[in-house]
Symmetry: C2
Subunit: 476 residues, 2 copies
């Protein structure tokens, strides 16, 4: 949203606008609204383009927004007007040669805003100065560069966005940054994390995705602690993978570092919404003590990029280039993605026409989230057979259970599906398998190669053994 | 599979058959097979119609099946032949007037077979005598009648099967049984549990679904403990709801009783695969101590059906009938279901054509498993608007997070979807919402009524408050 749009009655129109004008109240005014039945105190919020002209929306002290019908309003009293509270002064971000340089790329989402612009606030973008003001702890950790790539809701992310983010991330890394933070909406963060994992080949430094489940103007906001933890991970950890950094629990400030290919958003609103499924998270980060505690050792390690090493490396690479070798420490954004790839969760009663539709639309691949060990209703099998054998489609099986491995040789249905050429997807999450398949189909049409790549663990998306403790347990 | 098909070389053909004949070995023979590299000992299993003619399949002492290529076989030695071990003698099931009468309806699945017929065994059906022989503890609990309705893999269940199971269940209850156990494959057990919940109106006694993740010839089988726990619940608990009875953990024998509308299969192979999502299970059952421990109180209570009450009730009902009143304790199988209902999990890159296809196919309703608080990519919104406003379709929003409530008035995308008429599905599981919507659309076309019913908690499918402890925690 453009800053110029921030007029004093932003978004209000018709009767609601008249009411505000009548009492001389503006957006961001602190008000006491006397209603016919109740008294409300809070801050007048701007409205979005979708708002009606019948309500005034205020943010209550508890952080929640409430819309008050103007019919029910008897008087409004302005108690204060401090928009500055919502537009913190921009301090200068100190540059310290001894600290690592980290880049924060903004793509949108709650964490990227000081106020949640989706609930009416107006500051979706941010500069290093703004961030420093909001979260001064960041200066202790690193020199932070920030850049906004997108300002979109993550539900609107598409493969083309993943490609652009991968390219921009690669650019930053190849310019020498020692870690990248990607601020992203939480809805589809795990899809993007998977996509970046497969697209960024030869990653030498951490790429940490971070989001927020509560906008930072809410008392319970997780934005600052998530951001500090993500920054610590990007600047100091040795995890050269694409990860997701979000809260571990609802109570503690600690965050978990989830491997991008094994994470999933598992709760619509809790701040500990992200979970590593069927595996152990990579690390735990305490934003207060600034401690990063690895929970395992089997991850890709950071390639040191201090200046000395860099210079040596450059010389070495130059020599290699002269010898015609292509090896280098540069990350490659290998972003080809077949958009004619689908993800279908099956269910009892699903009609074969849904698969036929995908055949008609010339799809190249489908990931099925089937039931149990990897089953579909048998009514789909002839259509799937036609898709594979006549249309040359790739069908990959995953389980809608989310936890556990596919084993298609146990029951008849699985065996039938194997026989027609469905590829078992091991214990890949359906969402990860979808992205992996799109990525593979963007690179090859060779049946054998596709099958081999699907079944090969490339980036932690397949685990050999299920860890007993990686299953959910009951707290009851 | 018909028992008549059980010939001595069942399922073997071609070279494999010849090999067995050569060594005078039959299906169910205990054998020692000397291979070129290894020696195998086990029991020759029958083969399914899909088997090739190159392998002999034996069950190893550890419970696993292995196929041995006849090319690698040097000799086979028959060490014994005891098909009786797999066809236990049928003892008489004692009838005790003091014990409650319970009915077990078989529909298929691993628990309904003494041997897993899907891996090659031939006894999918069972009689009370067979069950008694296999699980003698059952006679301590109740008088058990058993009846086979279907013998199908649960992935092949369709609405028509739910309807038949609901009708047969109602029939048994209205004949006076004090509890019904439904043996069912685990893959789609939660879908069937939801369907039966909505279809069985005025349920007076427990209906307990039970399955097994390991066939009962495996050392680690959960079939017996699950069956005992389910029988206890059906015979003795006061939970007059459709529930799922499966293991609580991988180690303990205890089972949990999950409400049918809030359970989901969450692991492809663990025996504690079923989980109550975003809510507390109803009870815990210990099959050793025979103790049923309620974990909450807010469930529908059993209506006593002992003979005295029954007679009184009958008189009363007769009087009511004479007065033209229809009230009674009879359960009603209200099975109407709109088959033109779909369940769609969205994902980044999903094309609007998938929704257009459903419009073209004259679908009446779609449950969307969207992201986060209830979002879809905005590219779908115009198509969804057309579906609702021109085609009169019902679109219900749920979250693919599985845990947590839908809140569509928080972000712009949600508000846009609300504005075009998408109905927020509270915290219904996507699978439950699909069945509820099909059930509602089977009964009414009235828009307002549909919306009201979707948003009303009918059978525990919507919980008002999220229980903090109902979220998954980490064991790491």
């Amino acid at each position: 949203m453009d800053k110029k749009e921030e007029d004093s009655l932003q978004g209000y129109r018709g009767e609601a606008q008249k009411t505000l004008q009548k009492y001389g109240v503006k957006v961001w005014s602190e008000v006491k609204i006397t209603g016919k039945k109740r008294i409300f105190e809070g801050i007048v919020l701007p409205r979005s383009e979708l708002g009606d002209d019948k309500h005034i929306v205020i943010k209550l002290p508890n952080g929640y927004d409430i819309g008050i019908n103007i019919k029910d309003i008897e008087t409004i009293e302005e108690k204060g007007y401090e928009p500055a509270a919502y537009k913190l002064p921009e301090k200068t971000f100190p540059k310290d040669e001894k600290k690592p340089n980290v880049t924060l790329l903004g793509t949108g989402g709650t964490v990227a805003a000081r106020l949640d612009y989706r609930t009416g606030a107006v500051i979706p973008a941010f500069t290093p100065q703004e961030l420093f003001t909001a979260v001064p702890e960041l200066t202790d950790i690193c020199n932070l560069e920030t850049r906004t790539i997108y300002e979109i809701f993550s539900e609107n992310m598409k493969p083309e966005h993943w490609q652009k983010i991968a390219e921009e991330t690669a650019k930053e890394i190849n310019k020498g940054t020692e870690g990248v933070i990607i601020a992203h909406g939480t809805d589809t963060m795990h899809y993007t994390a998977s996509a970046l994992t497969f697209m960024l080949k030869n990653l030498p430094v951490p790429v940490v995705m971070v989001g927020s489940q509560r906008s930072s103007d809410r008392p319970s906001s997780d934005a600052a602690t998530n951001l500090i933890s993500a920054t610590l991970t990007a600047a100091k950890s040795d995890i050269a993978e694409v990860t997701i950094c979000m809260h571990e629990t609802t109570n503690d400030p600690t965050c978990l570092i989830h491997r991008g290919t094994r994470a999933r958003k598992m709760h619509s609103s809790r701040r500990d919404t992200f979970r590593t499924i069927d595996d152990t998270p990579l690390a735990k980060v305490n934003p207060l003590t600034k401690q990063i505690t690895p929970l395992r050792k089997d991850y890709n390690k950071r390639k040191k990029t201090n200046k000395k090493k860099k210079e040596e490396k450059k010389k070495e690479e130059k020599k290699k280039e002269e010898r015609g070798e292509e090896e280098g420490r540069e990350v490659i954004a290998d972003t080809a993605f077949e958009e004619k790839t689908a993800l279908i969760y099956t269910y009892p009663g699903i009609k074969k026409e849904i698969i036929e539709h995908l055949i008609d639309q010339n799809y190249k691949g489908i990931v099925i989230a089937g039931t149990g060990l990897g089953h579909t209703p048998e009514t789909l099998i002839p259509t799937l057979e036609r898709a594979i054998q006549q249309q040359n489609m790739t069908i990959v099986m995953t389980t809608q259970c989310l936890w556990g491995h596919i084993k298609m040789n146990v029951y008849d249905t699985g065996r039938k599906l194997l026989k027609i050429g469905v590829i078992p997807g091991a214990n890949m999450l359906p969402e990860t398998a979808y992205i992996k398949l799109g990525h593979i189909l963007g690179h090859t049409q060779n049946k054998e190669e596709i099958k081999k790549l699907i079944q090969t663990n490339i980036a932690g998306e397949i685990t050999k053994r299920e860890k007993h403790k990686a299953y959910q347990i009951l707290q009851n």
